[in-house]
Amino acid sequence: MNFIALKMLMGDRAKYIGIIIGLTFASLLITQQASVFVGLMTRTFGAISDLGQAEIWVMDPKVQFVDDVKPMKDTKLLNVRGIEGVQWAVPIFKGLLKARLENGNFQTCIVFGLDDATLMGGPPTMVEGRLEDLRRAEAVIVDVNGARGKLARPPTEPGGERRPLEIGDTLELNDHRAVVVGLCNVSRTFQSQPTIYTTYSRATQFAPRERRLLSFILVKAKPGEDPEQVRERIQKETGLLALTSAEFKWTTVKYFMKYTGIPINFGIAVLLGFLVGTAIAGQTFYNFTLDNIKQFGALKAMGASNMTLLRMILLQALTAGGIGYGLGVGLASLFGRAVRGSELAFRMMPQILLISAGAVLFICMLSALFSIRKVMKLEPAIVFKS
């Protein structure tokens, strides 16, 4: 009976295509929008991902997300280092500083100051130069995108190309001379400014004179220690906020979810995809069943049980669902491939595939349900009605 069900489904070209389009549309929109959403949310904590060696982030209790820096007193670092179970604790400066470009323009940059001794918390990958070069006088490392974009030097001749910032070039950070000793990659974040790495002590020289400059303390628990317990201990003994990097990522994501319209906008798009998909596919599928009601009646008269018909309808719905889902997800990943490396955020997590599979399954089941109800209640005597 299975092949009969499938032939029935595909026999009606127009309806079949309508059902598939509806389901494709739903799964495409759900997958694509959710992936862009997750991509954007991943960006919010790009800085946390980049500082991967840290297990625990210690910060002022008022900090709400990673870009919300509330500097602490330098002495806090010693407090944290003294706590049991801490293998190492390093300071990190994170701030926005103005860089003066050769053409006299100013460009705000995100500056990270890394612990002078260990250089812990550096960029995830170097493109040119070495992290250790930061120990040289006036040294800074610049992110490649910034070097090629906002920090690029003016063209040498009028109308020429802007030249990317290179190793050996200098720039001025808050009136302090800085020499580029390396180029690195960083994760894209919500901040569009270039990222610059230097040492903690140099960063505090660059920064305007303030009493407090310690942005975060990065902590690693001793081997064998439960980071969660170390985290609690730090919090209790210092009165600071201590979060594991996963927790800090979540805190950051939640902040963006709560205080920006991003999730709502994407939620609406996803819901719309779901509703439109349901409307098109569900409607068309139900109409398809109605169109074939006489055929179902004939099968019933000829001895097909309700169970058999139910299985046929389910098979039809699931087949259409599988094809629509495959096409939708395929198109979404083509989209993801096309925008890879561009400004657009796109992260297709396995969970998203599961969610859109669930949504498509739900749409199919809902459409099938109405059709099944109709066919179950069908009187086989209709076969003799002309």
Binding site: Q295, A298, G303, V383, S386
Partner: protein, 236 residues
Amino acid sequence: MHTEQTMAVSCRGVTKVYTSGGTKTHALRGVDLDVYPSELLMLVGPSGCGKTTLISVIAGILDQDEGEALVFGRNFKQMSQRQKTAWRGVHVGFVFQAFNLLPALTARENIAVPLLILGEPKRRALERAQAVLEKVDLGGRGDSLPSQLSGGQQQRVAIGRALVHGPRLIVCDEPTSSLDHETGKTVIELLKRTAVGPDRALVIVTHDPRIFGYADRIARMDDGRITRIETQALPQ
């Protein structure tokens, strides 16, 4: 002589009232009718007299209100819907005025449908369907879709479908009225030749006096009752 037990169909006092939108239609007002095994019985009468309703009851696709309907000794009233459905699958073949073939299936596949419903493996079912195709003189058209066949050919496919699983009762509602006279005759001749057999009864509802001659008996109906049974076939 036929006894009650060996009767193919035995109706006693069968009534059926349709209620739709508050109006009641007495479609059957106490039908008594016997159909013998191996006979071809035609059911004739004016439009609306209850012919379709009666064969629906006999075929087990419609429940009567009162009275008894026994088919090969089985009383539908004592069967659940599921049992009835399964029973139909094994014992009843249908031929409809509008053919009711599945348009997406080929002629061969359409004929195989009753076998597939009974759970026969697809390959075997299609083989048996091919044999039946030869019997209904469509041996070469097995791969055609219904839309590629003429009305008469489609009805022959439908007859093949009604026969393929060897049912003991075949019910046909106006099998020739969608066809021109010549084609109608071919179809009824085919039915008579292939469907009638020992221990198999055929009940054909028809308006078409030109095919009356093929009947063993003709039951005349009017206003929900059998008014007369003619044992002698009428001259054409």
